[in-house]
Symmetry: C2
Subunit: 257 residues, 2 copies
């Protein structure tokens, strides 16, 4: 068995999830904490890379002994969150842990992921949301938010999303969006989107595009047409990383029976 | 006329509001920003001292030219928030500004203040609330929260609160609590309290006491009796500063007609 962790982190201080040479990552911190708790080097496999500065409310990652498909330990799984949290910095926390079979893969096994993008829409900044939302001072009216929601609905379904990614990593640009909506909650405007997978910067390009719709620069009924044109330049600028939260990750139920 | 500011700040980096020799304070930052915007040294008078690490969602402060009861400026009052925010660090923001008469006093004119104390009540820490809530891992049941709410109700009214302050600064210990309640919102347990004024650490001692009630250490019906005994040792430990938010400040309406 492997251990599957549910993790929350404030991404501000990290160069994303995955270990890389140019800065501190969340995975590095997990590598250190798992070594401290289990006494062996571990493979910590995450459900996703996340960009530098992006946050997670329920990131999933598995722990196995390095080079093996399982972890042998005397630590009861219920005690794993507390044990790891002692060795993790304050801006990362393991919320939950459970056992999964050796063949469970935290990344390739993902069936769907849900993100939330937080726009803070008030004239002056909220000090509590600095680094945790995209501040758009000019107020969106109820009609603007309704238009953004219509535009979001146009993303739903299976489409070629070439026009909504930055760069081309050679992977298939076809993704299936299960749900996408925009709602106002007080001074926050929230964009929630779930899909079987996302291309590079895809949620952030979607958000930048929705902001353009809210500002009246792109008519919402244009989204479907422009999507079909597969042309990045027809969409909005990439929204900043700081407003993005990985919210939920879905795996096949069979692993949790 | 003076300018009355509504300010929000994350208190983590500050030794409270008021200028003092041993560390950076919010008032110091406001002194610097007002000097930069208005070109003169200003008296920035706050509605309250706040403890080191305490936050504010709507702190009030007036600006007048140093030694004078008014400020002369060509900056339109509607532009003051933006102008000051450019010169303030990210963890302080002016949300609003209006004009008030020369005789308005931000501190002595306060009729009531409302605080919120945020307890984060979940087994593992929430990285997004580190420094912004008091983490109590052991879950309070609905009955525990109900008992805390009964205890909070016992604070309401005009009482001698000697037993609910740390130290004795010689001031009258009589205060009038207008409202006090405890509610659960998901994994947060919120204590809200409004009064005509608060003694040193009073909200934090109240919160520490409510936590003891929630843990079954103090029966809620004991609060009134213990309060009458004027004995600090009969109440709970002082809750940490990081969970406390100054939420609202009330002045006589005549100033805003």
């Amino acid at each position: 068995m492997k251990i599957l962790l549910k993790i929350a982190y404030v991404g501000t201080a990290y160069c994303g999830y995955q270990v890389q040479p140019n800065g501190v990552t969340v995975q590095e911190r997990l590598n250190e904490a798992t070594r401290a708790v289990f006494g062996v080097d571990c493979d910590v496999v995450g459900c996703s890379r996340t960009d530098s500065g992006v946050h997670a409310r329920a990131f999933c990652a598995t722990i196995a002994e390095k080079g093996k498909p399982y972890l042998q330990t005397t630590v009861p799984v219920a005690r794993v969150p507390r044990a790891l949290n002692v060795h993790l910095p304050d801006d990362i926390a393991v919320l939950d842990a459970c056992l999964v079979p050796d063949d469970f893969h935290a990344r390739y096994g993902v069936r769907a992921k849900e993100y939330e993008y937080v726009i803070y829409n008030a004239p002056e900044r909220d000090p509590f949301l600095v680094g945790r939302a995209w501040h758009i001072p000019k107020p969106f009216t109820d009609e603007d938010v309704a238009a953004m929601n219509v535009a979001a609905a146009a993303f739903v379904g299976e489409h070629d999303f070439s026009a909504l990614r930055d760069g081309d990593d050679g992977k298939s640009p076809v993704r299936h969006i299960y749900s996408a909506s925009v709602v106002r909650q007080g001074e926050r405007v929230l964009f929630r989107v779930a899909a079987n997978g996302f291309l590079y910067h895809m949620v952030r390009v979607m958000t930048g595009t929705l902001a353009e719709v809210g500002r009246g620069k792109i008519p919402p009924e244009e989204i479907a047409v422009r999507l079909a044109a597969c042309d990045r330049s027809l969409f909005g600028a990439t929204a900043p990383a700081q407003g993005l939260y990985l919210d939920r990750v879905f795996y096949p139920e069979k692993y949790f029976e």
